[in-house]
């Protein structure tokens, strides 16, 4: 109860705000450094893109590039494709997530447990790998296509809009699923029991109670999926079959033509939909945000009735089987000469110097940036939850906004800002680390804020009371208590950093190639075997890292 009070205290900045802000100078300095970093590494790049789209930065103010955007049906088509595919992807992912979450959180059998693992599997693979798998399976002479002959009709082609959508659904499913599942898991079961007690069957309960209550989780998941799908350019490149998409066009404009202005315009249109949804969810929905999530109800989730279970079970099974199939294809692809054509076993694809090098880079960059993102996010979360900070709301908004900016835009923004004085960072590992850190810092922040709400203020006060000053208290009490949030933030940031492409693709250089980008490059060249092998290694490594964390969790008792 008391833990929520402090945030009320600090609503409007009063003259005393600054004084109290400086009362703990180290925290104040840290806050200022963080704020500057957020401005430089999140806000400035976005603004740079915006300015560039009007020709500013090198030339003079012009609407030329916007005019061009609206004149060329080509770009408009890309806008349409991007937004439509993202919307469809988001919608389907949310539907699937709801179904799988229901099944997983309300069944106790082995299947449910394995589905949970399978559902998260795509998170550890680069998203476009599913494009490859889809082509192997459903391409014009894919395994499935051949097998079923003209089942799909002569017109069927996996290339194009629907191929992209399908690949995105699989690739971005875990993101939505994670959020939606945790909302479902923590729901107060008594509310559903109450509905049943009042005569609602399970369908009605789901529609009238469960889903509305899960709204904020669903919307948050939907936002993230939408942004990721929007920023996705790898799938369009591989399976898009020439259809244009904003992100891939922006990418080609930058790397192929160095037309940064036009790319910036595309970036603006990439960011607009995300921005609208982000603002919608931050401000409109916050008001109606209902504190229904109470883990302490202690009652197990309401079991599913037969028909509901049958439906969500079927959906989960089909989807899980499909995801597994995708992974089987990747694994097979890695171990045979040419999948589908020459299926003899080989290990040749693993003999790939460049690949191993880029894998090392990726691990390094992801590790550092995930540590930074989780660490800084946690620090920021603590400061925001407990300290008097002028302009806190704005800073928090900007940090979380980092999550909503499509990677493509961030990448272009970084190119614009850091490819010249005063910050010449292009081609350095540092730039990659900074980029990933600040794109993921929101994850740490959110984890920390929600954790801080669970940590009663009295914990710190007790520490004060026992003679520890604010800094001691931070290190002795807060830091250990935030460890689980840190680890959770770290894991998420690490996994997504390993597979992230959309923004770093603009920032890599010969010595700093990253494995996800490298695999994309292989995929573009049609080197399925090599791409599969590298993906396989990458998946194994990410899984190993997770297993290691689990192991540490067991050993130390720190809940992850």
């Amino acid at each position: 109860m008391e833990s929520v009070q402090p945030s009320n205290v600090q609503q409007k900045p009063s003259p005393g705000t600054w004084r109290r802000f400086w009362a703990e100078p180290w925290f104040a300095i840290l806050t200022i450094i963080l704020a500057l970093a957020i401005l430089l590494f999140i806000v400035a790049p976005v603004f740079a893109v915006l300015l560039k789209s009007f020709g500013l930065g090198t030339g003079s103010f012009t609407f030329e590039y916007y005019t061009k955007f609206f004149q060329e049906s080509y770009y408009l088509n890309a806008l349409y494709n991007s937004v439509m595919s993202s919307l469809i992807t988001t919608f389907v992912v949310v539907m699937l997530s709801v179904a799988v979450s229901l099944y997983v959180t309300r069944s106790n059998n082995f299947l449910a447990k394995s589905y949970k693992g399978i559902a998260l599997l795509p998170l550890v693979a680069p998203p476009f790998i599913f494009s490859l798998a889809l082509i192997i399976l459903f391409g014009r002479s894919g395994v499935v296509t051949n097998f079923f002959g003209d089942l799909f009709g002569p017109e069927f082609s996996i290339y194009g809009f629907w191929g992209v959508v399908l690949a995105q659904i699989i690739g971005y499913f875990p993101i939505g699923y994670m959020l939606i599942e945790s909302t479902f898991r923590n729901m107060n079961a008594n509310l559903e029991y109450a509905a049943q007690d009042l005569g609602a069957n399970q369908w009605k309960t789901l529609g009238g109670i469960t889903l509305p209550l899960a709204k904020s989780g669903i919307i948050k998941g939907a936002l993230l999926v939408f942004v990721m799908a929007l920023a996705d350019f790898s799938n369009p490149l591989i399976i898009g079959g020439g259809e244009s998409f904003l992100a891939s066009e922006a990418y080609l404009l930058v790397v192929g033509q160095q037309n940064l202005e036009q790319a910036a315009v595309l970036g603006v249109f990439l960011i607009l939909p995300s921005l609208i949804i982000f603002i919608f969810q931050t401000y409109i929905l916050k008001d109606s945000d209902i504190a229904t999530i109470s883990g302490d109800s202690g009652i197990a989730n309401v079991p599913l009735s037969k028909p509901v279970k049958a439906l969500v079970g079927t959906i989960s099974t089909i989807f899980s089987a499909f995801v597994l199939l995708m992974f089987v294809m990747v694994v097979l692809g890695a171990f045979v000469k040419i999948i589908g054509i020459n299926n003899t076993f080989t290990l040749d694809h693993f003999n790939n110097q460049t690949g191993w090098g880029s894998l090392y880079n990726s691990l390094l960059v992801s590790l550092i940036s995930a540590l930074l993102a989780a660490g800084l996010g946690i620090l920021q979360g603590f400061l925001f939850a407990r300290k008097v900070i002028p302009g806190k709301k704005m800073l928090e908004f900007l940090t979380l906004f980092g999550l909503a900016v499509p990677g493509t835009v961030m990448g272009i923004g970084y190119v614009l800002i850091f490819n010249g004085p005063p910050f010449f960072l292009t081609g350095t590992v540092l730039l990659l680390v900074l980029n990933m850190t600040f794109r993921k810092i929101g994850v740490g922040l959110e984890a920390a804020i929600s954790k801080m709400h669970q940590i009663d203020m009295s914990m710190e006060e007790a520490s004060n009371d026992l003679g520890a000053g604010p800094y001691k208290t931070f290190f002795k009490v807060i830091v250990p208590l935030l460890t689980p949030a840190f680890v959770a933030g770290f894991v998420y940031a690490f996994m997504t950093a390993m597979v992230s492409i959309s923004s770093v693709v603009f920032l890599i250089s010969p010595g700093t190639n990253l494995v996800a980008v490298y695999i994309l490059n292989l995929a573009e060249q049609g080197k399925v075997g090599l791409a599969s092998a590298m993906s396989f290694i990458m998946i194994v490594i990410v899984l190993m890292c997770l297993a290691l964390l689990k192991f540490i969790e067991r050993r130390t008792g720190v809940r992850i």
Binding site: S141, G241, V255, G256, K527, L530
Partner: protein
């Protein structure tokens, strides 16, 4: 591992020698080249593969602070452009002396180490299955029977594609050339980003016919794909594949060493394992009797008209 005689000042410390290169070469062949180089000279190479269009944009945007020390594998036409922009550092390499002058810059700003040419990749299984004829010429590709069965790289990003485009222009003349592409566009199932990808897709049976380049086809035939190379009867354009040293490199000595190596017998033999033809006399590439199919390709024309043609291409074919 550094047993070779190549002039290195400090052999014991050879692991220190490391350079960054850009390439448009195929990842796998590049890997072999790099491995051979490492074995013979101990030099480490960081490779960033960028398709030729991408590579050029990047170079342009990075000038004068290039992100790499040298280019290992690039279009001849782009080398000419880069030379004009003064991005290149001259170096007279002793090992390249016996390479004919037509394959290298007189000041040593660029060296052509191999040449490559357009080629049709045909998947015989698919052709048979779908009852198609094997196309014999560029013109044949316009036949409606190939509708949706042709895969072609996008000249915006692929040097292979631009070679094809300018070859057609040089054979047919510009006007007729555009008509040809308009018609061809009807049959194209997909444009790809890289020049290699059509070969891959055709070999996997995604499409029946791919417009690609020589080695992309021959490598896959070696690997066991059911591919068949076809030299269109009108003849094919060819292009030099070049290397150069970027201006302002901080590793000049190492780059020189690498250039020397590529021009050496050993280097050329390494290249010849993956290329149909290399420029060093007396070293045989992987394929014989190519010369008869080559047209008298005008690389300079291609270079000069590149921007204009590309612009028009985008307007016509970027939907």
């Amino acid at each position: 591992a550094c047993s070779d005689s190549s002039s290195s000042n400090d052999n014991s410390d050879s692991t220190d020698k490391e350079i960054d290169v850009y390439t448009h070469n195929d990842s796998e062949e590049m890997q072999d080249f790099v491995a051979d180089l490492k074995e013979d000279t101990g030099i480490n190479v960081n490779v960033l593969r960028l398709s030729s269009g991408e590579g050029w944009s990047r170079i342009e945007s990075e000038a004068p602070n290039f992100g790499a020390d040298m280019q290992w594998g690039m279009l001849h036409s782009i080398a000419l452009k880069a030379e004009k922009e003064d991005y290149l550092e001259p170096y007279e390499s002793p090992t390249w002396e016996d390479v004919p002058d037509e394959f290298k810059d007189e000041e040593g700003k660029w060296y052509g180490w191999s040449y490559w040419f357009n080629l049709l990749a045909i998947n015989e299984d698919i052709i048979e299955e779908k009852g198609l004829d094997v196309p014999q010429s560029w013109k044949d590709l316009l036949d409606p029977q190939y509708k949706g069965e042709i895969v072609l790289p996008d000249p915006g990003t692929s040097g292979t594609a631009y070679l094809f485009v300018s070859t057609i222009m040089q054979i047919m003349g510009e006007e007729e050339g555009w008509e040809y592409f308009e018609e061809l566009n009807q049959n194209v199932g997909q444009y790809t980003k890289s020049g290699d990808a059509p070969a891959q897709m055709v070999s996997q049976g995604e499409y029946a016919v791919g417009i690609t380049w020589d080695q992309a086809v021959y490598n896959r035939i070696d690997e066991g794909y059911p591919l068949k190379p076809v030299y269109p009867s009108e003849g094919v354009g060819y292009d030099l594949d070049v290397i150069w040293m970027f201006k302002n490199t901080e590793n000049r000595e190492t780059v020189e060493e690498v250039i020397d190596y590529i021009g050496s017998e050993k280097g050329m033999e390494s290249s010849a394992k993956h290329r149909s033809m290399v420029t060093k006399p007396g070293i045989e590439g992987t394929v014989d009797g190519v010369e008869e199919h080559l047209i008298d390709y005008d690389a300079e024309w291609a270079e000069e008209n590149r921007d204009r043609i590309m612009e028009e291409w985008r307007e016509r074919f970027s939907e």
